[in-house]
């Protein structure tokens, strides 16, 4: 059995693989099977809408060209495109999206990540991340203004002198005050991260951003 073809093929090859898949993959799937997976439309909330409208006011011409009116539907579209760019540009290789309960991370970033935060289509595949060159982004929404993000994406070293982050001038039509559709989408996505939390945010006390208006 241990040296025969059928033993290797069926026990080691298929059997042990399936055993591990059951234990490591199917068990969590079954545990979470009753959770509702939210769509991009369902995860649009007041806070991200406030940021979306803020983008429309700050960059009226660019926004008009890119998304027209700042409706919830347009916001969902921006979130989808933003997430696609976040993955495609490799952001997730330097920025994680989960706050661990150790190493003072909840003091630096915010509340420890919970499972239900990941039950939406924008976490397909889940963007936990494996490396932090830059900080965790799962509590980034609302921490900084859209103008900061625009300048930062265009040339990070302008606002964060020693940052090793690459530049993304292709999110803009020439200058940081002219974000294109990709730029607005990616900023909307970043401002969405963490906006679903009850306690939010720690950094700015703006009533509008808190979603209280």
């Amino acid at each position: 059995m241990f040296e025969s073809k059928s033993g290797i093929f069926f026990i080691a090859g298929i059997g042990f693989f399936l055993l591990a898949f059951l234990g490591n993959g199917v068990v969590p799937m079954i545990m979470y099977k009753d959770r509702h997976e939210q769509t991009a439309e369902e995860v649009v909330n007041k806070r991200v809408m406030a940021q979306f409208r803020d983008l429309a006011q700050r960059y009226p011409e660019s926004f008009q060209n890119a998304f027209g009116e700042p409706t919830e539907e347009a916001c969902a579209e921006a979130l989808r495109l933003g997430r696609q760019l976040y993955v495609g540009e490799g952001c997730w290789h330097c920025h994680s999206q989960f706050v661990r309960p150790v190493s003072n991370e909840s003091r630096r970033f915010g509340p420890v990540s919970k499972s239900e935060e990941y039950d939406n289509e924008l976490q397909r595949p889940v963007l936990f991340g494996t490396r932090r060159v830059g900080p965790d982004l799962s509590r980034e929404g609302g921490r900084r203004g859209n103008d900061w993000h625009a300048v930062h994406f265009h040339k990070p070293q302008v606002v964060s002198t020693d940052s090793p982050m690459p530049e993304y001038p292709w999110f803009f039509d020439g200058s940081p005050d002219k974000p294109n559709r990709r730029g607005i989408a990616v900023m909307t996505y970043i401002q969405w991260l963490g906006s679903w939390l009850k306690e939010y945010p720690y950094y700015e006390e703006l009533a509008e951003v808190k979603g209280e208006q």
Binding site: E3, G25, M31, R83
Partner: protein, 503 residues
Amino acid sequence: MTRGASAHHRSDGPQAGDAGAPSHDDLVDEKIIVCYYVAALTFLTISMLAGLLVALQLVHWNPFKGTELLSPGRWRMIHTNAIAYGFLANAFLGTLHWAVPRLTFHKVFSKPLSWFIFGAWQVVVLSTAFGIVLGPTFQDQPWILALAKKWHLPMNLGAQGLEWGETPFWIDPVALVGLALVAVNFMVPIGKSKGPMYVSLWYFMAAFVWTFLTYAMGNLLPEYAVAGTSAGAIGGLFIHDLVGLFVTPLGWGLMYYFVPIILKKPIWSHGLSLVGFWGLAFFYPLQGIHHFLYTPIPMFLQYGAVISTIAVELVVATVVINFFGTLVGRGKEFFDNLPIRYFYTGMVFYFITCFQCALQVTFTFQKLIHFTDWVVGHAHLVMFGVFSLWLFGIMTYLFPRLLGRPWWSRSLCEYHYWLSAGGLFVMFLDLTLAGIFQGYYWSSLQPWDASTNGSQPFWITRVFAGLAMFAGLLCFLVNLWMTARGAEATDPLPARAAGTPTA
């Protein structure tokens, strides 16, 4: 064992005792091996240049700042994917075309199929590269966004959001068909062979099954079937299995094949071979979740993954012991015989990797080193220090046989070894240290910049360590070019040092 052993005697062509056995020329298609190796080395060169670009970005020396198609974020994925699918997969496939027919005494299933797979695989690798580099540029298409909205799927034209599963979704089906055909092409000769199989064939056979299943699981489920935490568990399983169930068994299978041939003596202990294989097969797949400790994945699964990881390190130790037991009495070969030196250096690195893994997988270590360069150092140690060195050793052994003449320059062979192994070891120590520093910068709540500024000395060292490894590759390529075109050798590598079996 006997069949395997008799195959070993054939390592330098048909011998008197093998009357009636098919000749090497009937069994092995040498041309396809050369083609696979050329493809592998091409992608290795691209991958190392991509790694260099990212390393330069981190130390603020990127000469192509703001160039969309040379964005370090995209080329970081080229770096890892070109190593896994461009270099390792091609080099393994090429070597299997040598090892499997010689071990089984049967040709691969179909020669045209072999060439079809070769072509299809290059298409897969190149499309992956183009998809990753160009995908985000063309992502903003109404039709693809409409599909994403309709099906609630990611629909990334570029990379998918899973490490090593970045292969864009539109290539996945082709890659899967390719992997299935690879399995058929090599399983047929294995199936035709009679009697108990030699160790290498256990590993190969299992690897063909595992690679297909792993690729399907990782590229399809988190994309189409599950989201969130469950997808994280599967993602962890995928990145883990790709190393453990595709690269590792093929690598060890080839070690079990080449080491006894070159040393001309059997593996020390058949029992330990059994323990090593079955231990790997059982424990390795159980550990995927250890990549995501302290996540919202249920804690009991995290504990299970940690325990089975520590278990597999004991198993791995038996394999390493087995190979060093084989070397006992022939230790001089380590110094004189270049392929053997590559193999055993890789095994030392393998042991370090696994020992390190048994420590770093614990929750105590994870607090500090998760998300840091420690992990990057670990990844380089295993992918370059172990498997790439093994493949360099195999290529050093096979190229003179495939090309029919000795290596053009002995010193270039030596430079290749020392720059690769030395550069890698410096990079490993450097990144491991950097990881510890980064971990403490973060947990002590200093401003984020403290960690990136404090990493600069390490990152600069890493650039130069990487350049040394790249210089080693250039030595190899120059040597290969001069050997292939038949330049007159003033300082050839003697056959003895290129691994010709000794009595």
